[in-house]
Symmetry: C2
């Protein structure tokens, strides 16, 4: 039997250097039915929630605010090397005054906007 | 109703500064039934596999080798900002010549050694 393809690390910076558009996550690998994604964002996204999943944000570059209702603990600010998990069902609105690079994890097929009709397409790089 | 506790980002460096021992992951938050963990490692771990889960490694500091059989793609080397997912069932042996800091994701309750008898305890920080 031939050997498998050689294993290769996923370099997050190299992946982020492959695109410039905002709010369009790229899937870089998979893990237990989830997409591991990188994304660049700037400005504010829509308020949304996910009915079936938590939402993990790990900032790699820049500063991100995740706006959330006060009753759910309020806004959180993230810099490089900081992460936050928005619990399932909680309304949130990511906001970045300057461009932010980050890693996201969501179950494969989760619409990033919380709604199939407005979701970014799944792109694997 | 009183407001929830204020949301707070998880700073991975701050968490890693709280301990010095090796091969003893600390859970820093949870995501969809998984533990998000940080760990310091040095030297080699045992060869093991997980019957029920992929195994995600994201290196934050230092250089990690994940040894794997050639038939499964062979060894992979990771530096800061690089990640790799060891697929479910694949034998692997993490190795670090110098100390490595990294983030791990595994389903809550997964024995880090692949075996309950030799697993590190679950510690939440």
């Amino acid at each position: 039997m031939a050997d498998a393809e050689p294993n290769q690390a996923v370099n997050l910076s190299d992946k982020l250097a492959q695109f410039d558009d905002h709010w369009s996550p790229r899937t870089v690998t998979e893990f237990n039915g989830h997409d591991i994604m990188v994304v660049k964002v700037k400005g504010e996204f829509n308020w949304h929630h996910h009915d079936d999943t938590d939402d993990l944000f790990l900032v790699l570059k820049g500063r991100l605010t995740i706006r959330m209702p006060d009753g759910d603990g309020g806004d959180v600010e993230l810099g490089p090397g900081e992460l936050f998990v928005v619990p399932v069902g909680v309304e949130h609105q990511p906001f970045a005054e300057e461009e932010v690079e980050m890693m996201l994890i969501e179950p494969s097929g989760t619409p990033n906007s919380g709604d199939e009709a407005t979701a970014a397409p799944r792109i694997v790089i």
